[in-house]
């Protein structure tokens, strides 16, 4: 007897949010466009009712990003999970050059209208690439984003890790190696 495929009963796992926007799919041009799936559909701040949707999308996008790193880049340099009930504070580990450091991200009350604030406490001592932050104290500097500013309300925490944190860590580790600190 032939098997009849029932799509509504199969494909979506329970944790998958319903509204992920295929943002940018129509103009795939560069490697970075591979990350179109790291965009979120819902625009809501942590204090708003729709935040639970947005938070689910953030978790979903992050899981896809980690999968990408694990299976395609073979370099799972980040592991991070929400550690507050509101999913506005995320903590984990960042890895490079055989070392591992704690990382902390805070999604402020105005997120996603502003990018997350990120701190890697141990590396803060070894670089001037940091700025003062009203919530985190010292955080990694994202002033260079002014040159090619890409952040918008749909960008996700995962995209921020890809486009901001990964480059920041690479550049700081490179400096530390050159100075013989690593």
């Amino acid at each position: 007897m032939a098997y009849r495929f029932k799509p509504t009963a199969v494909l979506l796992p329970a944790a998958m949010p319903l509204r992920i926007r295929d943002y940018g799919e129509a103009h795939l041009k560069t490697d970075d466009d591979l990350f179109y799936f790291l965009q979120c559909a819902t625009v809501a701040t942590p204090g708003e009712p729709a935040w639970s949707d947005r938070a689910a999308e953030e978790v979903y996008a992050l899981d896809r990003f980690i999968e990408y790193l694990r299976f395609l880049e073979k370099n799972e340099w980040i592991s991070i999970r929400p550690t507050s009930a509101a999913k506005s504070r995320w903590t984990g580990k960042v890895r490079n050059a055989g070392k591992e450091w704690d990382i902390e991200l805070v999604l402020k009350d105005s997120y996603p209208h502003v990018p997350p604030a990120c701190r890697i406490p141990e590396l803060m001592h070894y670089t001037d690439r940091k700025v003062d932050d009203g919530v985190l104290g010292l955080r990694i500097c994202d002033m260079h984003m002014e040159k090619t500013y890409w952040w918008d309300d749909h960008a996700s925490l995962a995209l921020y890790l890809k486009r901001e944190v990964s480059y920041w860590v690479q550049s700081v580790v490179k400096d530390m190696r050159e100075k013989g600190w690593l």
């Binding site: 105005s110 009203g134 002033m143 890409w150 920041w168």
Partner: protein
């Protein structure tokens, strides 16, 4: 009106005494915002609402306003006494908080619609865009000022919601993330840029000059002014609004 305004009364293009009824918010009172606050206070603006979570550091002292004995004091508190001494008529409301979070955000949301003008004097592009969106939403004019990384150039952007281009209009890199790749800062890239008090004073003055025009409705407001310090050149750009702008456009997605 007291005699301190005698010279201002001679100004022919507008009635500067109307400034006493105006309320202006200044977000960021560092090298730029502190100067703008002093200029507006001396002009007799009735109420100044100041936002800045930062404290005075020794590295700030190369610019004007702050004193050596104020190192460690919150900037908004440090400048309050200075403004009162400059002009006791001005009422200063200070919020020593981060405008993107918690109490600062709440205060900004409450204060913005009550103000006649907002001056953006921040050093972060992300916060600039955030202020732009908030002012466009509240339909309150925003005048953003900034200096270049090398300290000799600067710009002033006037955003009159519904009339002039907003901060997100006409910036191609902001529309599509694929236009320009992210910067890899492998060569240097220190985060503390130089800051010249001379350039800061020029930009703060331009910011306040445009602010006066917006507040009192005289002259021709320059939507975007670029200052080139090395050449001693000032250039006006009449940017058009982008109908598809994600913040102010009518056809935004």
């Amino acid at each position: 009106m007291t005699d301190r305004y005698a010279r201002l009364r001679l100004f022919e293009h507008a009635d500067l005494s109307k400034l006493a009824k105006k309320r202006v918010a200044i977000v960021g009172v560092g090298g730029l915002g502190a100067l703008s606050a002093e200029i507006l206070a001396r002009l007799g603006v009735g109420q100044l609402v100041l936002f800045d979570y930062d404290t005075v550091e020794e590295a700030n002292l190369n610019r004007l306003v702050y004193r050596t004995d104020q190192v460690g004091v919150k900037k908004v508190e440090a400048i309050r006494g200075h403004l009162r001494a400059a002009n006791p008529d001005v009422q200063v409301v200070s919020h020593p908080y981060d405008v993107t979070d918690g109490r600062g955000l709440k205060a900004l949301k409450e204060e913005t619609p009550r103000c006649d003008l907002v001056l953006g004097c921040v050093d972060s592009f992300a916060v600039r865009l955030f202020l732009n969106a908030m002012c466009v939403q509240s339909r309150v004019p925003l005048i953003d000022g900034g200096a270049s990384d090398d300290g000799v150039n600067g710009s002033v952007h006037v955003v009159i919601p519904g009339k002039t281009a907003c901060y997100r209009c006409n910036r191609p890199a902001l529309k599509d993330s694929s236009v320009a790749p992210p910067v890899r800062r492998e060569n240097g890239g220190a985060c503390h840029f130089t800051s010249l008090p001379t350039t800061m004073a020029v930009i703060a003055s331009l910011q306040c000059q445009e602010g006066l025009k917006v507040l009192l409705g005289f002259g021709s407001v320059a939507p975007f002014l670029m200052y080139f310090g090395l050449e001693g050149r000032l250039e006006r750009v009449d940017w058009k609004r982008d109908p598809a702008c994600g913040t102010c456009g009518r056809r935004r997605r």
